[in-house]
């Protein structure tokens, strides 16, 4: 019971991060039908942006309030990562729109390699560490031999994720911008016939997806305290898996998929072997896809017309 509770907390934390990244995959897939393989590396760029911003703010500017620093880091990382993602779409995907289906995907793989190699050259191949932040924990439950703890960092991650997801949901469901975004997703041509600037909407989709990945990046950095140029790959693939598991194209699906992958991973690590945690996560994906090819919340192919 005590280990179960601890792993539940850890799993939800990790799952929140996957869910935030997964939204970027699912939104882009929904609107232009491509898997943006560079998204994981965009996430990685955000962790480095956050790291650099953090160090600048704390050492050069000497700001001591950790919450102020984190808030600024969050804004900087979201803005810069959004810019990177916007540029990628303009340079590498938009010219290929209307080309054969695989072309933008190959281009995306190229951008993924470009980003990770650029960061490797610019920042070096070694792990970069952040001084520990928010080290305090709350003891939730003490069984005598085992303490279940909830770190401040974990609370921060879950609260930020919940608030942002709510804000994001509101944006997509209730604002004209979100409506235009959904319209482009459902019928791009008709959206244009109703005066929606489709190119601009697609750009915004990339920016929003990247900004959420940047939030995940800041949280990831503050949680693990270490980043590496290769960190785009595994979290990226996991988040993509989460998006597919939840039903690609479905926003709630991406979040639920992310939480599930996070939970599967942590529980498997706790009760079975930690070496095989990725195998467990991907096996669940494979099994789900065999029985529910559209994912958990994906829509069935048939629509009444």
């Amino acid at each position: 019971m005590d280990i179960f509770l601890q792993q539940l907390i850890n799993g939800l934390t990790l799952g929140s991060i996957y869910g935030l990244i997964a939204i970027g995959y699912t939104m882009v897939f929904g609107i232009i039908g491509m898997v943006n393989f560079a998204h994981g590396d965009v996430f990685m760029v955000s962790t480095f942006t956050a790291l650099i911003a953090f160090l600048l703010l704390t050492t050069v500017l000497g700001i001591t309030s950790i919450f102020l620093v984190l808030a600024i880091v969050l804004v900087v990382a979201m803005a810069f990562t959004g810019l990177v993602s916007w540029s990628i779409e303009r340079v590498a995907y938009r010219p290929l729109r209307g080309s054969f289906r695989l072309a933008p995907m190959i281009s995306a793989i190229g951008m993924s390699i470009l980003l990770s190699n650029f960061v490797q050259v610019a920042q070096g191949p070694r792990n970069k560490a952040l001084p520990p932040i928010l080290p305090d924990v709350i003891v939730v439950w003490d069984s005598g031999s085992y303490q279940v703890t909830l770190a401040y960092k974990q609370i921060l991650i879950m609260v930020v994720t919940a608030v942002l997801l709510f804000g994001f949901w509101w944006l997509v469901q209730k604002t004209p911008l979100g409506r235009a975004q959904r319209a482009c997703e459902q019928d791009r041509k008709m959206a244009a016939l109703l005066g929606v600037d489709v190119d601009r909407t697609i750009s915004l989709t990339f920016i929003i997806g990247a900004a959420l990945a940047a939030v995940a990046g800041v949280l990831y950095l503050s949680y693990y305290g270490v980043v590496n140029f290769a960190d785009g790959f595994v979290p990226g693939v996991k988040a993509f898996t989460a998006a597919v598991l939840g039903g690609i194209g479905s926003l709630p699906g991406a979040v639920i998929g992310g939480l599930l992958i996070g939970l599967i991973e942590t529980f498997w690590s706790a009760y079975f072997s930690i070496e095989y945690k990725d195998v467990a996560a991907f096996s669940i994906l494979a099994i789900t896809l065999v029985f529910m090819p559209q994912g958990l919340l994906g829509r069935p192919e048939v629509e009444k017309v």
Partner: protein
């Protein structure tokens, strides 16, 4: 006579190597209902979409109120207050009826949203009953009403209507045509209508054009075309 609201001059449209329109000339004057009739594949819907810039005309010019719109992007053309209820209705299937109407009102910046919504309920009471249902679950007739209402929500100066009668029950067709006639008579709405149902379309329209294989072969008043023997033989035999 003043310049026409919409003018096409020698418009050609191609899909790759396939030529869909081979030089179409036509005028739509303010306050008119003009119809294009023609068989399947004659290029009627292509003409409608070419006016909206998707696809663009490969040759010729399209003028709206004197302004050349041939090379403008689709969303900017529509912002000139042209609205289209397209072929196949293209309702957003995973949006509610209300949201579909909101999409239409975006072109009007939601300036008259509540008034226009009430007006649509008067024109199409069924939409009020279905307001929070998803677009994809509506019947064909309801979707057609929604497509027209969505187009009207933008308060267009020119309404492009592509096959509003397709696949609908005669009673619904009559209802939709009555609405178009009323809007034209009371508000002076200019309508450009594409129809396979030549009899109804020509009865409704002030003027008409006949499109055959991507070119205009005949034009005249609605009544004149109705009585033209060629039109009768090709489009009205056993019709209505």
């Amino acid at each position: 006579m003043s310049a026409p609201m919409l003018r096409a001059e020698g418009v050609k449209t191609q899909y790759g190597k396939i030529i869909a329109l081979r030089g179409v000339d036509l005028d739509v004057n303010e306050g008119e209902i003009v119809t294009i009739i023609g068989a399947n594949g004659a290029g009627k819907s292509t003409l409608m979409m070419t006016i909206c810039g998707a696809p663009r005309a490969s040759e010729g010019r399209i003028l709206f109120e004197g302004q050349d719109i041939t090379r403008m992007p689709t969303h900017e053309i529509m912002r000139l207050k042209i609205a289209q209820s397209p072929e196949g209705r293209r309702i957003f299937p995973r949006m509610s009826v209300f949201e579909n109407l909101q999409m239409g009102a975006a072109l009007d910046n939601y300036a008259h949203f509540n008034d226009d919504l009430e007006r649509m309920f008067d024109l199409f009471p069924r939409l009020k009953e279905r307001l929070h249902q998803r677009g994809g679950t509506l019947s064909g007739g309801e979707q057609q009403m929604l497509a027209i209402a969505r187009a009207l929500m933008s308060r267009p100066r020119l309404l492009l209507l592509d096959e509003p009668s397709l696949g609908l029950a005669p009673l619904v067709v009559r209802q939709i045509f009555d609405v178009i006639r009323d809007l034209n008579a009371t508000e002076g709405l200019t309508v450009f209508l594409v129809e396979q149902n030549a009899y109804h379309a020509l009865k409704l329209a002030h003027r008409g054009y006949v499109l055959v294989n991507g070119a205009i072969t005949l034009s005249g008043t609605g009544r004149a075309l109705l009585e033209n023997p060629d039109v009768k033989a090709a489009y009205l035999e056993g019709g209505a």
